[in-house]
């Protein structure tokens, strides 16, 4: 037991220790300061700018920035959709896979363009190497970079700067942050045993009956794997994702994967501190997120460590819950991975979330609902500050002034955008399709477990889509050719798009509106947001607003299930 907790503690300590250095580096990148790789990258970027005709000096307004994102995303989506639908005759298809159904291709396209990577297919049997590398792999970089661009534009606006230029931010995010780390990380993964090959599956005779043969899927996995984690994409090369021994063969690769998915969102809070010139506030907010994260990790880990009472009573002893887990990771690394992947909107999985104890299910769902326990690439930090703005508005009135954040008044427009963003998008994208699916359990959802667990499965699927996480609770017949596949593909597309683009537009407009405000000087009459008190208040607002919206589904899902199991049901 001690070893498990130690693994958890050391992993967390590692990424927390990386935050200031890496966050500071990202700040330098986006502030346009000199960085180590300048001699190599400046010429490369210059070529890219001139090729694409990007006017690097052009500052974009919120709308313009948002439009640039929408146009480029639509263009990239068309490309990937074309690629997948035509993979049958395109090269790099050693297994000769044909085109999937149109709705699977559409769902996959939207899922990858939105940085969600929700997968209603099995990678190794549905997509060619070409589709995986050129289609999905490409989007893993661009969708992650889009998120980072939105995050940094939001921080710029919040701190009174012009929002910047989307194309420049997109390119710099890739060349300065995602690509260099991915190259190093991919080499490390190869060294640790992850395959990287264009050769087709290996066919070997089975051990039990040498007359029978078995195809072992492989492929260009290592380079795909690192950006899958780093970019918080989460879409596995293989169906079972990071539980697959070729994706995540050992505890060392598992460590790289966990740190990989959390390092950017965690360090991004520090990047904010540099931009706002308030490292104090950055650390306070960081601590708030870390505290909730630690609580969540602990809850999940306790649930898994104590195991299932029903199984324990059969065994006659208390054993960790290892159903749906890889033995090489055990309860601790599985619990840590699951909490981190749902919190960071990565969505990669190294164990089956469906098999977690209700306590874990509760935490994983809560992570998806809150979206800020580290949160998505760039957007997570932006959400965090949107929450802060709401907290400032609600509690700031109580000091008798028009609430202001970083000296900028929070008025109608900001409240409209922030409250819509934080409070309304999620219920629309999760509860409405969830309720429809549950209203027609036979025809629409194809749930494997009836009752409370089935409710959790359905809500989880939409929450994962809306939060752009992509992990699955699984247990749903959500893939073609199941009869319910079409419904799942299309209804989750709705959640994916709602959960991605409405918040992006709202965040950019919010940033734009804040950046145009004349800052009000700080006085003792100003509510300070960089205090322990206010950070505590924000945590309360986050939990209460989150709880108010999702308490009923949590009560009818994991909470009810927990009571049921406790009763011995």
């Amino acid at each position: 037991m001690f070893q498990g907790w130690l693994q958890i503690a050391l992993t967390i300590a590692l990424f927390v220790a990386l935050a200031p250095t890496f966050g500071g580096y990202m700040a330098r990148v986006y502030l346009g300061h000199k960085t180590l790789l300048d001699p190599v990258l400046v010429p490369v970027e210059r070529i890219l700018y001139s090729l694409t005709g990007t006017e690097t000096k052009e500052e974009m307004t919120g709308w313009k920035y948002a439009r640039a994102i929408l146009y480029s995303n639509v263009a990239m989506a068309l490309l990937i959709f074309f690629l997948i639908m035509n993979q049958g005759w395109l090269p790099l298809n050693p297994t000769g896979l044909g085109a999937p159904t149109w709705d699977t291709a559409l769902h996959t396209t939207i899922s990858f363009i939105t940085n969600t990577n929700q997968q209603h297919y099995s990678g190794e049997t549905t997509l060619s190497y070409g589709s995986q590398m050129l289609g999905l792999g490409y989007h893993m970089f661009t969708s992650a970079a889009t998120g980072l661009a939105v995050g940094i534009a939001f921080i710029r606006g919040l701190t009174g700067r012009p929002l910047g230029n989307f194309y420049v931010d997109l390119i710099r995010s890739i060349t300065r942050i995602l690509l260099p780390i991915s190259i190093v990380g991919a080499v490390a993964l190869i060294l640790l045993g992850v395959p990287e090959t264009l050769a087709g599956p290996v066919v070997v005779p089975t051990l039990e009956n040498p007359a029978l043969s078995q195809a072992i899927a492989r492929g260009p996995v290592a380079h795909f794997e690192i950006i899958k984690q780093l970019g918080e994409n989460g879409g596995g090369f293989f169906a079972i994702n990071s539980a697959h021994p070729f994706e995540n063969p050992n505890p060392a690769t598992n460590l790289i994967q966990i740190v990989g998915m959390v390092v950017i969102p965690s360090a991004f809070i520090y990047t904010y501190g540099v931009f706002a010139n308030s490292r104090r506030q950055a650390w306070l907010i960081y601590s708030m997120v870390l505290a909730i994260y630690l609580l969540f990790v602990t809850l999940t880990a306790i649930g898994e460590y104590q195991g299932n009472p029903a199984v324990n009573s059969l065994l006659g002893s208390v054993q960790p819950n290892l159903e749906g887990k890889e033995v090489r990771f055990g309860w601790a690394q599985s619990a840590l991975f699951a909490t981190t992947t749902t919190g960071t909107m990565c969505g990669a999985v190294n164990s089956l979330h469906d098999s977690f104890m209700p306590l874990g299910g509760f935490v994983l769902l809560s992570n998806l609902f809150l979206q800020i326990i580290w949160g998505g690439q760039g957007t997570g930090t932006a959400y965090l500050f949107a929450y802060l703005i709401l907290a400032v508005f609600v509690t700031g009135l109580m000091v008798g002034r028009t609430p202001e954040f970083l000296g900028r008044k929070i008025e109608k427009r900001e409240v409209v955008l922030a409250s819509f963003l934080i409070l309304l998008v999620h219920p629309i994208a999760i509860l409405i399709p969830g309720a429809i699916s549950l209203a027609f359990p036979e025809t629409l959802s194809g749930i494997s477990n009836p009752g409370f667990h089935g409710l959790s499965q359905v809500i989880y699927e939409y929450a994962s889509a809306a939060a752009n996480n992509g992990s699955g609770f699984e247990g749903l017949a959500d893939s073609q050719p199941a009869s319910t596949g079409l419904w799942w593909n299309l209804s989750t597309c709705f959640s994916l798009l709602c959960g991605r683009y409405i918040p992006i537009i709202a965040l950019l407009l919010l940033a734009d509106s804040l950046s145009r405000k004349q800052p009000v000087p700080m006085t003792v009459g100003t509510l300070r947001t960089d205090t322990f008190l206010f950070t505590g208040v924000t945590a309360g607002v986050v939990l209460i607003l989150g709880a108010l919206t999702f308490f009923p589904v949590l009560a009818l899902g994991p909470i009810a299930e927990a009571f049921q199991i406790a009763k011995g049901g």
């Binding site: 109580m398 409250s419 309304l424 205090t531 009560a555 009763k567």
Partner: protein, 699 residues
């Protein structure tokens, strides 16, 4: 024009007396307020009125639906028979929802009623009077005051009511303004002077005749605007109120989605529920507490301003008061009493202090100015006596040319006091000699910021009278309070730097501008605004008008000119510039009250969830979450709803009175209010709902 002389020597009406005694008129008639409000609360159930408040409109719709399922519980699908009489239960829910609406309406009605009472007493001053309109040909025509238009000229004769707001363009007369200000002393009005040329409709001319140019169309005067505001009739929502409404509407929508999607979820886990229960849960969750009280808070805020005898032209201006960062205050009349008073006698040339006092008294016995009287008072305190026959002596009045005043004594002697240079000249002309002592004393007083007056008798200079600006009592503490709230004060004065710095130090202002011109006033406002600060100022003169318009909150004195009043967004009927400080507190209190009740309302939801969800989904096995141990689902729902309705009623006094405001820093305020309304808002309903559940005779 005898009567006018009597007034011309009266000093300008100083805002005197303790602050409390000035919160007086117009005394509003509050009798029957609650009966009327109860009636009004039912009238407001009209959906055309309710629809303006989105949160309460949802309750309204919910009440209709629960009423329908009271008559036919199976209207929206069959309700499983649980042995419970659905009709009685649904009827009970309908009944409580109905009263939730009535209570919210009642809150608004009470606030409006209080405003109306306030307005009525203002309106009483507006009674239709006959005005003597002067036609271009010089003749006079009697018209109704409501027919007067801006630019008309009217003649007002002693005993007449002044028909409308205007400027005096001819004549001098004394006006009784007690109807508006409550101040019984009549005020002198005459043309040309900044201060005294404007008159307000509804006040009465006591003496002489005035010709007045009307400056406002009927129904557009200050009083009319205030009436409209306090009645709530023309109340447009303030920016902050709109922002808060947005949040409340979004929260309401969230809960609508949560409740609308709950039915399939509940059915799926085989724990179905009824529409009446879902509506009950919805109403319990949406922010009805703040939604029901929001407009009452706003109206009550305006009412508080009115009770302070300040006329605000918009709610926005009142709200802006809370945001003020900088107060720009004139020294004279605002920070100091307006007159310099004698505070010390400084002897020179070997005279004793007593001798100076004696000479000063001799030079001042006929001086009726406040300065002169203060010299007499100080001298008499020091035991000086008049050592000549007053009746035989003759007073010499101050003139701009001589810059001295004094007394020609019966024995032919001359006692004088005045500007040091002037007295020097006088002494020289009488053959006296001057010593360096005089200059030394002069400089000492100047350095202290005082005004030195030299005193001489015949050719001998006795010493210097130290006239000092007197800072109004209690101001220093108020400036301290403002500083603690983060409001900076800047004093403007025409005095030189040294004098200004001494007063600034004594009054405890944060900054001052000496030798200021009216242009400096607008410059300092612009400079502060350029840094993003909100500035408030007071003014009364025509040359203050641009600055009043520039300031975020400009408060004109009622005694000021029409131009100043037009430019300002508030007019103080008492002409008390220090009221600005109270306005800051009123503005803050308004925002705090809104914030506190919003926080309370949202925090309450936790307990309501814990009361209702576990009990109605007991079939899902989550009964253990019923931490309050409520008796049954029915009792839990009814208890939560009763709490929900009663809390509106219970908080009406707080909404009307406003959350108590203390001059603390923002962090201290947050700490305090989060504790009371946030943490308190989480805990209070747990206790209250449990108690109601215990009392309820429902099993």
């Amino acid at each position: 024009m005898e009567s006018s002389n009597q007034f011309s020597s009266t000093p300008p009406r100083a805002p005197g007396g303790p602050r409390e005694s000035r919160r007086h008129t117009p005394k509003a008639d509050m009798s029957g307020l609650y009966q009327r409000a109860v009636k009004e609360a039912f009238i407001k159930l009209d959906p055309r009125i309710t629809v303006k408040n989105p949160v309460m409109f949802i309750v309204w719709v919910g009440t209709i639906v629960t009423a329908l399922v009271t008559f036919n519980p199976n209207l929206f699908g069959n309700v499983p028979d649980t042995g419970l009489n659905q009709q009685i239960f649904n009827g009970l829910i309908t009944f409580i929802l109905f009263f939730t609406l009535v209570f919210a309406n009642f809150a608004e009605a009470v606030a409006e009623g209080r405003g109306k009472a306030q307005a009525d007493s203002l309106r009483a001053t507006r009674s239709d009077t006959v005005a003597r309109k002067m036609l271009p040909d010089g003749s006079v025509q009697e018209v109704s005051s409501t027919d007067l238009r801006r630019g008309d000229q009217v003649k007002v004769i002693a005993g007449d009511m002044i028909p409308s707001d205007g400027d005096v363009i001819q004549g001098i007369g004394s006006v009784d303004e007690s109807a508006i200000t409550g101040e019984s002393a009549p005020v002198l009005k005459q043309p040309g002077t900044d201060i005294a040329s404007s008159v307000t409709g509804g006040t009465r001319l006591l003496s002489d005749e005035l010709v007045i140019r009307i400056t406002s169309d009927p129904g557009k005067g200050f009083i009319d605007r205030m009436i409209a505001l306090v009645e709530g009739a023309e109340r447009s929502k303030t920016p902050n109120e709109i922002a808060l409404t947005v949040l409340l509407v979004v929260l309401t929508q969230v809960f609508l989605i949560v409740i609308a999607t709950m039915s399939p979820l509940a059915n799926y886990v085989q724990s179905p529920t009824t529409i009446a229960i879902l509506i009950a849960l919805l109403v319990a969750l949406i922010p009805t507490t703040i939604g029901g009280l929001l407009s009452a808070i706003g109206i009550a805020g305006m009412d508080r301003v009115a009770q302070f005898n300040v006329i605000a032209t918009s709610g926005r201006a009142v709200e802006a008061c809370g945001d003020i960062n900088t107060l720009v205050l004139d020294k004279t009349g605002t920070i100091t009493l307006g007159n310099r008073l004698a505070s010390q006698f400084i002897p020179i040339n070997g005279y004793s202090e007593q001798a100076v006092a004696q000479a000063a008294l001799a030079a001042s016995v006929f001086d009726e100015t406040p300065e002169g009287r203060s010299i007499v008072r100080l001298a008499e305190e020091m035991g000086a006596t008049v050592d000549f026959d007053r009746n035989a002596a003759e007073g010499v009045e101050f003139s701009a040319r001589t810059r001295m005043s004094g007394t020609n004594l019966p024995d032919g002697g001359e006692a004088r006091k005045g500007a040091v240079d002037a007295v020097k000249g006088f002494v020289r002309s009488r053959g006296g000699t001057l010593s360096a002592d005089l200059d030394a004393a002069y400089e000492r007083v100047s350095r202290l910021g005082g005004t030195p007056l030299a005193v001489c008798r015949n050719s001998e200079v006795y010493g210097i009278i130290y006239l000092k600006d007197i800072v109004k009592p209690g101001l220093r503490e108020r400036f301290d309070q403002l500083r603690r709230m983060g409001v900076r004060t800047i004093m403007l004065t025409g005095d030189n730097r040294i004098t200004a710095s001494v007063i600034a130090e004594e009054a405890g202002v944060d900054d001052f501008i000496a030798e200021a011109t009216p242009e400096d006033k607008i410059d300092v406002i612009r400079r502060e605004q350029a840094q993003g600060k909100l500035v408030a100022m007071t003014g009364d003169g025509t040359n203050d008008a641009p600055a009043l318009a520039q300031a975020n909150v400009g408060v004109a004195m009622n005694s000021g000119t029409q131009a100043a009043k037009e430019a300002a967004n508030m007019v103080d009927l008492d002409s008390d510039p220090t009221k600005l400080i109270d306005l800051v507190a009123i503005g803050k209190q308004l925002l705090i009250t809104r914030g506190a009740l919003t926080t309370f309302s949202i925090a309450n939801d936790i307990a309501k969830y814990f009361a209702i969800i576990p009990t109605i989904f007991a079939a899902a096995g989550i009964g253990s979450l019923n931490v309050m141990g409520l008796k049954s689902p029915q009792s839990a729902i009814i208890s939560a709803l009763i709490y929900n309705a009663l809390i509106i009623l219970a908080l009406i006094p707080l909404a009307l009175k406003g959350v108590e405001f203390r001059p603390l820093t923002a962090n201290q305020l947050l700490q305090r209010n989060i504790l009371i309304y946030g943490v308190g808002g989480v805990i209070a309903p747990f206790i209250a709902i449990k108690l109601i559940d215990l009392i309820l005779p429902i099993s």
